[in-house]
Symmetry: C2
Subunit: 505 residues, 2 copies
């Protein structure tokens, strides 16, 4: 049997660790020996049933050819890298110092816009960084609603211009193993979160330096993915645009996933904030009895305007409108004097966001004079445009730093819905598209298929990706969430979290 191309696996990976250790110990070849897959190993142990000399010989020959092929592949990839460095410059020494340099990397490809079947796990040549790029060995990839729209071929500017096939994904955290020419702010070994426009769902990711942000030492890669985009958006909506101060009332239409929990967590850091959350029908009942005084849940189809005016006759100070379900005039009128209406474009249920928004807002133009007469503000926030078109890296970096500070101060924490292996991308996307997630949905390129268990089994819904990360996560979760011993494992306290944070959807 021919060996599969395989590159050095991080030592903290749960799967294949022992196999790797055996190979690492042998150390006979100047180039590393390829590992047999576990099936071949199994076959070897069954040797007592077929100890003929011929079979022994065949196995030896197979191994030799296997090793030879691996050696050639290593030679090829290293010579490709040398060529790349001669032509383009840069520094790939950290990549080259790896035990095995992968010739091909695993990723998630979109072959055609549209259905589920058009997205598939694939292998592509190792990407290499050009001028201004960095090469990241990825540890954690985020799944967001935008990915579902990308898959469906709706929204947005770059998807419209980019033609499949391409690699999916726009959020990834990992360590920098290569630098293109002229990279100035980052160095080899830096732990970063990267927000490339696409191609994030891959074992190795090339990204422009300007879309990468260093993460604090104590922050795990999964936490970085959970906190970056949602954290920057939440912070911008509440503080930069909303200018939230003590004693204000905020109206938030149902925002699932990491964004919903982060907006709530951040709003809670301001004393006496009251958050009105309009929840989906399916959440009926549960929320209303919540013991959380900061958050008031109202079912979507009820007369929430009257309900809010009962306690806030002058209306709310801040409306966060995800562009998808609110009636602009109704919510605008619900604003109190000095109130702010922030449009942030989160998601849409039917058709493209831009199509929806254009038809929805086409007739919704506002006279600035009306704002002047009523002492109101309308603000718009669109992180993708800010990052990829307006390229306001300074703002994004400063805001990310503030988010990290809030995290370090224990004011906010990363909340995960599930951490899945690459091959579960379709389940992950569907989960997000159905707004079923509570907290961040993550694809972990370091988990192999064998380690990943059915997400529908609640006890095994999520897997820790490293002991250290598990500890980090446990440390960050407030103590009251896992007082008992039953919450020692990530999937355990994530299960608990699901209970606790469900109301926040």
């Amino acid at each position: 049997m021919l060996c599969e191309e395989q590159h050095e696996t991080p030592s903290n990976l749960y799967s294949s660790r022992d196999v790797l250790a055996v190979n690492e110990k042998s150390g006979e070849n100047p180039l590393p020996t390829c590992m047999e897959d576990t099936a071949a190993e199994g076959r070897q142990e069954e040797g007592s049933f077929c100890q003929s000399e011929e079979i022994q010989k065949e196995i030896k020959e197979l191994r030799r050819r296997d090793e030879e092929e691996c050696r050639l592949k290593q030679q090829n990839v290293r010579s490709r890298i040398d060529q790349h460095l001669i032509q383009n410059g840069g520094d790939l020494s950290l990549l080259l110092s790896q035990h095995t340099v992968p010739n091909e990397v695993k990723c998630v490809q979109l072959t055609r816009f549209g259905q589920t079947k058009n997205i598939q796990s694939d292998k592509v040549p190792l990407p290499l960084p050009m001028k201004g790029d960095v090469l990241i060995r990825s540890h954690s990839c985020g799944v967001n609603f935008h990915d579902t729209m990308t898959r469906n071929g709706i929204l947005d500017n770059w998807v419209r211009s980019a033609k499949p096939p391409f690699i999916m994904g726009s959020e990834v955290a990992g360590e920098i193993v290569g630098l293109g020419k002229n990279v100035t702010d980052l160095k080899l070994g830096d732990r970063v979160i990267a927000l490339p426009e696409r191609k994030a769902w891959s074992e190795y990711v090339v990204c422009r330096e300007e879309y990468c942000f260093k993460i604090p030492d104590q922050m795990s890669y999964h936490e970085a993915v959970a906190l970056t985009v949602d954290g920057i958006v939440s912070h911008s909506l509440l503080f930069q645009m909303g200018n939230l101060s003590s004693g204000k009332a905020v109206l938030l239409h149902s925002t699932p996933g990491g964004l919903g929990t982060l907006v709530t967590q951040m709003a809670r850091t301001v004393p006496n904030t009251r958050i009105f959350k309009i929840t989906a029908e399916r959440m009926n009942g549960k929320h209303v009895e919540s013991s959380d005084h900061a958050v008031h849940y109202i079912e979507r189809d009820t007369d929430y305007v009257s309900e809010i005016r009962n306690s806030y006759p002058h209306g709310v100070d801040l409306v966060l409108d995800g562009l998808h379900e609110s009636n602009f005039h109704r919510d605008f009128n619900l604003l109190s004097p000095m109130g702010k209406y922030v449009l942030f474009g989160n998601r849409t249920t039917n058709g493209g966001l831009f199509d929806t928004a254009k038809s929805w807002l086409g007739q919704e133009k506002v006279s600035p004079l009306k704002l002047y007469e009523e002492n109101k503000s309308i603000c718009g926030f669109n992180l993708r445009n800010l990052l990829y078109f307006q390229k306001d890296r300074r703002y994004i970096r400063e805001t990310f730093d503030k988010v990290c500070q809030m995290w370090q101060d224990g004011e906010i924490q990363a909340v995960f819905d599930c951490i899945l292996q690459f091959d579960d991308f379709n389940e992950a996307l569907q989960h997000v598209q159905d707004h079923g997630q509570v907290g961040k949905v993550i694809l972990d390129p370091r988990i192999s298929k064998e380690d990943s268990l059915n997400e529908h089994d609640p006890e095994n819904m999520t897997l820790p990706t490293s002991k250290k990360e598990e500890e980090n996560l446990e440390r960050k979760i407030s103590p009251d969430l896992h007082e008992g011993n039953e919450h020692k494992h990530v999937h355990g306290f994530l299960g608990k979290l699901r209970e606790v944070f469900s109301p926040n959807v």
Copy 2:
């Protein structure tokens, strides 16, 4: 000669002090003796030329009738007050404890909208407070651009509904000498700034309690007038709506008077703020050489967009648009990502503000989607609507408190253009209408005509209203403005201030 109705004059008044002292010393009557006017006094001293018994008798008779008339008037007014208290309740004890209770008070009346001649100094019966009102003995009345529009019969809601004659003015500071029924937050003797919708230019002003705000002990009445409206507007534009933070660029179209200087002073409190001030043509030359690095002056008719983009290629973070001269699209496009456009409606040069604004903005509706795509905000601020229609007293009080705190911390200071007597209302209004003022224009009801000197004489342009206030003012002015002895008097250092602050127009 009959005495003129005259009430107790504050002991710190510059004028008539000696005359008053004489009368106070006599103290023969249970009701106070009316003073002769200075002409009568003069006539008395010429007595050596007409010492006939008849003349002596005539003078005695005149005095007796004078005193009798005054006594009757005091009886009348006190009985009117008693009646008022029986019918309406309240507490007028501080008013009644005054040496003289005025039957009539001096004020500035508008008889018809339009020309200068339709506004006149007048006397009206002492106003008395109804339920929820306070009665203020005024010490300082502010003149703002809105007053000129009121006089001209343009703008705004209440002027359109109110028919002349009425008493002009919407800003007054003084002490509370009477309370209507059900006044809860204020008490007799409180020093307040009041923002009645009108009738502020009077020796005694009745105002709803909700429009009155207590001022710090150390703040003079003139300072309160200079800091309140302009301070609240400036603070709202820069911090509440603009959310100004370090390192931002602000575009400010020429804003004369107290508002312009306060916006600049407050913006300077934020590190590394750069203010682009579009100045009137007549200011040509002077400003460009300013040594002030925080403020960059650009002449109105030049290509300021290019000039700003030279140093801020991404544009400005905040545009403050006084609704009067900017081109909305030009300035909106000059906003950087995350930039804010704040419309605050300061003044208009031709026709009414509302007329101008409606024609100007009628075709300038903005799609919120555009804001979303461009990461921009549009905000409107209108203090009058906020105060009189939306009645958001809490916001106004909180913002005023922040302004007072900035003043107490020495971050901002009151700047005066001139402090004039009541009878100079027309000069004051014209000065403001012509945008000629640098700092606040004030009418002081405690200065008599004799004390007030021609404002066009620079050395006597302004007068201190009390020694204490003069000291207060001097103390507040930064030391470098009056290092020499020549600035000991208010008009002296105000002259200096004019030089120093001229560039800020």
